[in-house]
Amino acid sequence: MSKGIANQARVGRQRARVGSKRRRVDKELEERVAQRASELATANEALRESERNWRLVLDNIPGMVAVLAADGTAQFVNRRIIEYTGMTRVEEYKEWGTNGTLHPEDLAHVAEAFTKSLASGSPYQIVHRVRRSDGVYRWFQSSGVQCRDASGQTVQWCSVLTDFDERKRAEDALRERERESRLIVNSIPGLVATLTPAGEVELVNDQVLQYCGGTLREMRQWATNGTVHPEDLAHAVDVIGQSMMSGDTYEIIERLRRFDGIYRWFQVRGLPFRDSGGRIVRWYVLLTDIDDLKRAEEALRESERESRLIVDSIPGLVVALAHDGEVEFVNGQGLEFFGLPLEELKHWGTNGAIHPEDLPQLMEDFTQAIASGQPFEWEVRGRRFDGVYRWFQSRGYPLRDPSGRIVRWYNLLTDIHDRKRAEEELRRAYDSFADAQRLSKTGSFITDLVADEHRWSDETLRIFEFDSATKVTSQRIRDMVHPDDLRSFDSVMARAMTGSDVTFGFRIVTAQGAVKNIRGVAHVIDQIEGRPMFVGALQDVTERMEAEEALNKARSELAHVARVTTVSALTASIAHEINQPLSGIITNAGTCLRMLAADPPDVDGARETAKRTIRDGNRASDVITRLRALFSKKEFALESLDLNDATREVIALSLSDLQRQRVVLQSEFADDLPNVTGDRVQLQQVILNLVRNASDAMMDVDDRPRQLLVRTERENGDRVRVTVRDSGIGVDRQSMNKLFDAFYTTKSGGMGIGLSVSRSIVERHHGRLWAEPNDGPGATFSFSIPLEPIPRSHGR
């Protein structure tokens, strides 16, 4: 509003000035008109005629024309103007400064320019708005030129108004567009440049300058100043040059130097801009930073390469499946393992690649996994190229796109065949270990006595008749110990608490009332915080002990059988031993009778023969006594005995037999032999057995003396040894140990029971019996027993 008022005031002043000028001009004109009225009177009519003519012309010009007086006052407006403004009277136009003919906003500069032009007389050209008849202002360019008369005086101004509205608006829009474009160009998150048709840099946007850290001038030197990476420069120059010639769009991937000297990859695209005549007026160049992209691509390529490498070098079979489960990819190992091409592997459900036994379950699980989208894992056998099925662990994971849809399944098959086999073997080993424990009635345990923690094997629990839920404690074990064995149990426990290895033997009474003989060992394997950890094994030896008793009994029976056998074998010898004195008795008795019956009776002779009879009778009696002792069935009876005596008796019994076998007997009895404690008869049986064996061994020896040496001696320490040495066929070392097996025999007629029984007898005396080959022919059998046998221990 205030601006409007100020304008009005200015217009007012101007009008006043214009008014005074006009009045002066008018006055001058009136004077001249008056002066020359007469001169012109004649010419007036012609002039009026002429005036009418150019008025007609002006009115018909297809343009807006006004004629102003030299002072600028409107003198004439043609029909176009009148038609436009709707103002018919020329006076109205004289008031253009105040009546709104011109747009109020334009008044000032119009007045200024107009005044200036009037003053200088130079033509004017003003752009301003003129009100149309309907009140709408439109832009016009008002151009005015002076019309001078012959004297050079300005007489009039001729003004043409050109409708400028469309153009003005177009220009404004263009300017606006340009402004916006520049804004856009500078706001583009990219680098933009323009080139001249010759390819020189014309302009670059701010981003280019910021990126390069240089000026436009420097940008123009891009081909020489290192803006483009040296390696990429030749190519860039080449491409741009070609494009400039061909006018084709170009694209270069090149490295451009950043302000900090680092080159980054750019995609540079140039597009020609042509004018309406098709001539290239400019190149627009867009430079896109693709460094990150390029690096990402490289990284991706690298990672893909690596992935492929990994997939192919994974010690497993990798299978990629489509979302619906169809096999899409199998890695090298997979193809190699199955020995089938990918196409074939798509038909794994039918072509035997999967073990038939595993297939139905696999199909079911697989279908379910695919349907549910859940990762899967199972074990399955796959057929190798050579037809061998191997166990695999198959694990599958779905790959989902950002929206969560499954795009692919990855399936890794790991060969677990060996592991599976090992597991089976382990299971078998464990089973057999458990079986072994069960069969041998041997249980194992790991015990931390201090913490009272006991880990028992199944068999240990079974022996104690505990179920697996039983919490084993030392007290619970003790509660089961047979009252008679508690003292021994407690002392073993006390010893174990000190961290020593222990052996133990005690009886337990189970909940069922069964009495079991337990024997075992426990070793300290570790000390944890000063507490001994024991690992041990125990056995239920009840049956074994029963068996031992039975065996002992059997052994006694066997010993008896052996004795009887010996008796039968010795029958001849026995008969001989008895028949000899009997024979003497009978003969002597007969002789005695004959001597007494003689005449005269030979009393002295009879007495002599009677004495002989008695002597032979005693001799027979002795033999019978010895035999009875030797062959009577007696229990194991310990007594203190002299092995020399015992051996002599055996030799006495065997002597005739040995003689018959033509064996040369030599005996060496130690003088200082101490008595031993043992079963006289059983030890004599052993000696007899050895002597008979020696004799038998020499039965077929004819090329050398059949020598038999029987020796007694004291061994180092408190032992006594009896040695029987022959010069028979001998025994080879390999057979040496088998000799003592029951029923092993080298004799066609023997029972082979002798040596094994002999050994068991010697062992009952805590002695040992052994054989060794001689340096020369024959073998030597020996046994040695301690002077005082260790008392029989519990349970033996």
Binding site: H576, Q580, S583, G584, M595, R612, D616, Q659
Partner: protein, 126 residues
Amino acid sequence: MEVMGQQPLVSVVDDDESVRESLPDLLRQCGFAAQTFSSAEAFLASEALDETRCLILDIAMPGMSGPDLQQELIRRRHQIPIVFITAHSDESVRPELLARGAAECLFKPFSEAALIDALNTALRMR
């Protein structure tokens, strides 16, 4: 030990001393001359070898056994009738010995009558 020409000499070979003690007395009571030897070898080495009318011979002896001596005598063509005596009551040896020409085989202890019968048999064989 040549006694009275007509008394036939009976030689006893046995390693058992009681036999050597007792048997000669009985033989003499029965009217024989008797001589004893403790081994076959001793008998073979003696002069009695040629004079013996009958031999009472133990089977089992150390060194040369009774049967061995029998064989040896056959080999030397000394046809001395033999009465074997043995303390080993093994009947199986008897037939073999008789087959080889022995007059009898007596098992100890034998009766006086059995001995005299055997001796008579032996002497008749001559």
